[in-house]
Symmetry: C3
Subunit: 352 residues, 3 copies
């Protein structure tokens, strides 16, 4: 691999500093600052990684314009957002190309199913009756689609994905391994001391540009649809229950769980292991810190934390009070002592 | 689809109101109140959905007898439990029929295994040596059973399920995709600075009428059996560790985790993301709110919340105190000020 | 099965007590104390299981030397650690032998891949281009390895495991069903109101003697490697995000989640459902109780609990204060009343 620094600067609108007189002007690869080897390009964005700058072996580095350029043996590329610039380079030159091509002889496509041009199906893939698979789709080995599933153009499904009947997957959707779309919702009625299953006759809709991590579970709706809207990204091991609707461009981190029939707005961001109760609504632009528990509707955009959930400044203030409890207890004790003393003194003075 | 309202009323013991003079008397389908179209039947159960009543396009609606029937253009079916009546209709007329039939040519059945009448095995299913599969079972594509697994009559295993050797699955059991039964328990001893694995030689028993969601993990016992008893329902992404016993008719919501050798009683209900420590016992009829952490045995039936776990009324009272902490801190400060003043006044008065 | 008690005593360095005159001297199997049948060997380790001793049907029992030997109808084997001795017996005589052998006709091995001697590949296994599989490896049915994956000697991969391209698996590694290695990290930039995916071009390295439970997700690195170091054990449904490094001989219990770029030391132990923030460092020998949330680096070995995380003695003290809140509130109220009284008395006395 040999990439010209001039090309990289052009791609990222970077100003080259410290390459005077101009050096060879090529990089051989990219790496994190603590792992970069001679000839490689790296970047500096978070301040906690600055400790690696004096010793990095990288030959070029993307930095903010204000970064102190204390080393003369490295070429600086100044950009406002070194991380974004770096990721642009990854996308342009290093994005993985998955070599899956054609329809494998061991893949099964039901005669009533349709498969678009240039779509690749791996080994032992099962495309059941009535499925409609778009163009330029890649479905990796051992992934199984039950009846009437639709997958839009340019989508990517990794190995061992399970999609139940009637679910609709949009365009440019990415689904990672082990993920299950359309399993039954957790819905029963209790009759004569035993749970009776409520048939789950709805489906799941993943709109365009959705990405689901690995081992995610998205349950089908009792009726109607569980919907993940356009551009929303969901991390590994997340639970999306029946009839949930997640708005556009929301990000849900690993191991979050959203209970049945809850609606989450657009441009929300949930940290890891957040739990959300059923039948509530979270408005748009709600940021929720990791491990929070949301038991009531959130009607105001903002940043929240805790279980029960509070605005983050209230949660921090409350936490400070809790840390002070030992101190408060001591002060109550001292007050009691003091008040007893005063009471005694007063009694004595009145008796005089 | 065309269902007579008279038939529906008969199935659900409903009283028809507002169909005078009688209209055509047929519905074309069912839907949620906010999504119903003309000709469809819907239901009203939770009060937060009443806001959709004035505008629903449904032609018929299941309601409680006391519901205010303010619209004349809709047929009312009065029942005590509109949701149960609605689910009865779903079960009777709309329950999904999975079209899997026969033993696919790509399914493998070991010569020493037995498969009952009318059982269907999907593509690439693996039924290993010594397995005994009952009658009317459906096992979907790419599901793998290792040696000597038993599956009772009328059970339903979706695609990409993994069952390890020696596990016993009862009748009418449903297992959703991605679920793993019989993986090794997390058991090691530390020897000379390294973990040494303890072989896990027990198995898993799922009794009749158990349902497991998608991506559930149920570990086999070190010795003996991990047991999920009759009629118990387990939601997605739940962890059941080695040697756990879950009693009859218990419901465990998504992302709960139950640690090794713990016993959970019957008719318990756990909300989502509850964690339970190992080697403890939870008695029958224990309801635990979402996100709770149970570190000690629970010997009294009731409703609980928190980590550490408390009876829910105590948890709520404690939470109220925590919310009041700011107020308490202020009152302590005021008391200190007041006491200092009194002390000063008293001192002055005594010195006079 | 017929094992001589003399052989068992020799294997575990146990002293035989209560076999005078010597009995037949054989056991027919092993079992937990509450389930043992006549002829079987059991053990007693945790005090909460002593209640089963008076009634156990076991014919022999591993106990500590100080155990009160109140029954004459049972043979005692005295050892310092009855549980370790018992597990040694399991390992020696009862460890499961997985009967998978040879390369199944339905397994796919790309011509450019290599497979070592005595390695077994189950049905529908996919070994993609460039893979290198060592000797004595067992890969069960429907497991899929994408391009250039390496698996070291004596490793064991159960059914329905998914390994993405370029990941490196060491020797004697065990991976349970449903686990996904090398799915993409959860990394996006926001551009013009939409998330843009950052290609994940790193990989995952599992060093020798690592074990991963079922339905675990280990994401590949953005660049470089996500690394699980030698001897570390990870339980079911755990999330390991991109670029995480977990040190040697660490144990991570079920449903823990470790966020991106975090480094965990060696000999750490995490209870279940612990969450760890991204870009932090946990030093060696850190024990974290279940359900804790770690949002900042931990630089001192020790035992911790809570969210926010505290040293466990501080967490317990704080919890005691929280339990006392009702009492504190009462004392504040009483102080206020008392102070008002004093104030009144003082005022009266001064006015006299």
């Amino acid at each position: 691999m040999k990439l010209s620094i001039a090309d990289i600067a052009s791609l990222t609108n970077a100003k080259i500093v410290g390459d005077d007189p101009p050096k060879a002007g090529f990089i051989s690869g990219i790496a994190k600052i603590e792992e970069a080897k001679e000839g490689e390009l790296t970047f500096l964005y978070l301040s906690q990684y600055e400790k690696y700058f004096p010793t990095t072996k990288a030959s070029a580095i993307l930095v903010k314009p204000e970064f102190k350029k204390t080393r003369a043996d490295i070429i600086y590329l100044e950009v406002p957002d070194p991380n974004k610039a770096f990721f642009k380079i990854i996308s342009a030159y290093f994005a993985p190309k998955f070599p899956l091509e054609g329809i494998d002889a061991t893949a099964f496509v039901h005669p009533s199913a349709s498969v678009g041009e240039n779509t690749a199906l791996g080994k032992n893939v099962v495309i059941s009756a009535g499925c409609k698979i778009g163009k330029n789709v890649k479905i990796f080995h051992n992934t199984v689609l039950l009846e009437n599933v639709e997958v839009g153009d340019d989508s990517l499904l990794f190995q061992n994905v399970s999609i139940r009947e009637e679910c609709k997957i949009g365009k440019r959707v990415i689904i990672h391994s082990g993920t299950v779309i359309g399993s039954d919702g957790f819905s029963y009625t209790m009759e004569n001391g035993a749970y009776v299953k409520i048939p789950q006759i709805g489906n799941v809709i993943l709109e365009d540009d959705v990405e689901l991590g690995s081992n995610v579970s998205v349950d089908r709706a009792v009726m109607g649809s569980t919907i993940i809207k356009q551009g929303t990204k969901i991390d590994n091991l997340v639970q999306i229950a029946h009839n949930v609707v997640v708005g556009e461009h929301t990000a849900i981190s690993g191991q979050c769980g959203i209970s049945g029939s809850t609606k989450v707005g657009k441009y929300c961001v949930f940290g890891g292991q957040v739990g959300v109760a059923g039948h509530i609504e979270i408005t748009d632009n709600v940021l929720v810190a990791a491990k929070s528990g949301i038991s009531k509707s959130v009607t105001k955009s903002g940043t929240y934390f805790g279980a029960p959930l509070k605005e983050i400044k209230d949660a921090f203030r409350q936490e400070a009070h809790i840390r002070n409890l030992e101190h408060y207890a001591k002060r109550i004790k001292e007050l009691e002592k003091k008040v007893a003393e005063i009471s005694e003194q007063l009694k004595n003075s009145l008796e005089r």
